[in-house]
């Protein structure tokens, strides 16, 4: 069974033919739709028509916790502009305060924890857009 789907990516339309095999979706071909005015990029096989990425709580670069610990102090709020390496949060772990610097410059788009929360290593604390 074949289905044709149209995907619009940055203003270009692509018609994607999808064949359903035993419930699995296999790529067949990708061709620029007639409306596409410019040369299509190299036609890499597309595993499946990707659903639009689910909008995260905050868009941008996630800032993961460097280690497990307790959120001691949050030094930013949503909407704040921050510089790269600016201290945006302080964790407490092993009886020591651990600063969390912003990995990139930008605007805080979400804060996912509150003070006194326990966090694990890699848990997203903040996103910077």
């Amino acid at each position: 069974m074949k289905k044709t789907l149209r995907i619009t990516l940055e203003g270009k339309s692509y018609d994607v033919e999808v064949e359903v095999l035993n419930g699995a979706v296999a790529p067949v071909s990708v061709a620029p739709a007639a409306v596409a005015p410019v040369a299509a990029p190299v036609a890499a096989p597309v595993a499946a028509p990707a659903a639009p990425a689910a909008a995260p709580a905050g868009a941008g670069t996630p800032v993961p916790s460097p280690m497990m610990g307790l959120v001691f102090k949050i030094k930013c709020k949503v909407g704040d502009k921050v510089e790269a390496n600016q201290e945006i949060m302080v964790l407490e772990a092993m009886k020591m305060e651990t600063p969390v610097p912003a990995p990139v410059a930008g605007t805080i788009t979400s804060i996912n924890v509150k003070e006194q929360d326990s966090v694990s290593e890699g848990q997203v604390l903040v996103t910077i857009g």
Binding site: P66, E92, M94, K95, M96, E97, P99
Partner: protein
Amino acid sequence: MAIQQEKLDDLNKRRQVINGDTEKIAARHAKGLMTARERISGLVDSGSFQEFGAHVNHDVRGFGFEKKSLPGDGVVTGLGFVDGRPVSVISQDFMVSGGSLGSKHARKMAETMNQAIELGNPIISMNDSGGARIQEGVKSLAGYGQVFRANVMASGVVPQIALIAGPCAGGAAYSPALMDFCIQVKKQSNMFICGPEVIKAATGQEAPLDQFATAEAHAAVSGNVHFVAENDADALNIIKRLLSFLPSNNMQDPPHRFSESLSLEPDAGMNEVVPADAKTPLDTYQVIERLVDPGEWFEVKRDFAKNMITGFARIDGIVVGIIANQPKFKAGCIDIDASDKAAEFINFCNAFNIPIVTLQDVPGFMPGLAQERGGIIRHGAKVLYAYANCTVPLVTVIMRKAYGGAYIAMGSKDLCADVVFAWPTAEIAVMGAEGAAKIIYKKELKEAADPQAKFKELADDYRNKFSNPYQAAENDIITDVITPAETRARVALSLRSLLTKRVSRPSKKNGLSPL
């Protein structure tokens, strides 16, 4: 009766071919890349390079190779001088068959390294190769075997420095891995065992190169690379700077630059570096900056395991390796990566007669399920092994926290150190006061009318008794208690006094460091 002109012309023509096709050279320059020969001439003192085996060529039959000439068989090798000190150099030539490794190419590499062992020269190996020369089949693989063996023979005898300046894929990546230091250039180079296509075919995983193969990925994530270079010229400067701290071989001392008189002035600024609140992390970089001679700090693996700082320095002219906890990152805990980083660096320093200065501020080994499952026991044991195995002078400064097994591991007196200083802020104890009070006073706490108040009282009591350097000093497990301001002078004086240290140990085939 002069030599026939045609003989001279013939040699000249051959030399031109060996030096490379001018169009290919121009194409490399257009991409911002140096040629194999330019990398060598950029590294060594002007005019000091002596090439070995320039006229070597391949002997592959079939695949149309009979008609092909591969000058030097794709690698330039020889001897040169860097800052007046001899080095052995290997530089793969990407312009010749993509730098592919054939049997003669490999033989040149191995011969250069074996000669370096005899001469006591550091080995600089510049990698820029597409990998095995497939047309040579198993002869090419055999060549890799010779290269790896030479790397292992040279290990601990002469310093080995690898530059990754282009592709370095598959088996080829194991030669840099067997060497002591690896410098990778941004953008123009990749290093991996299996590339994105192979990973995709075998596992279905999408693996973009920037996640595992670039200079940045190796420096920060895998830990395979010690230094990241912006371009070829930057890489050569890094090699020169690194060599400026190293002896040429394990029979020499590193290039100390003794001053005539030792300055023993206190440095009041060091007292300012220590935060008043024990919970506020100390920035160990500030301590290092004040401890070492101006401009004489050269960090190794800066981007990997930032909770453990390693690097070369001079303290009053004496070359040292510094190993330091960094409480600003992961509270300074020793985790798996920090263990590997420290152990590797300690092993290098000991092999090449470089005294070690340890700066300790460590709350413990990193707690966590992932750490335990990842083998923090065997990884942490590498640090213990490396330190205890040392015969070089060791000076340790306990700045603040020194808890439990991590205190013992970080260059303690009973494990290895010749001299251990502690600042008055040092907390040398089995564990933190709260944890200790809970265990020792379990019964009292249970019976107390107000357990919380009692707990605070008992924890404070424990802290006053044990969270200081004086228990350790009374028990002779540290040398002395000194102020931060006195540190530079005391460490410098100790190092001067320890340079004659000689240790003899029972001989053995090899120790069995945990891996």
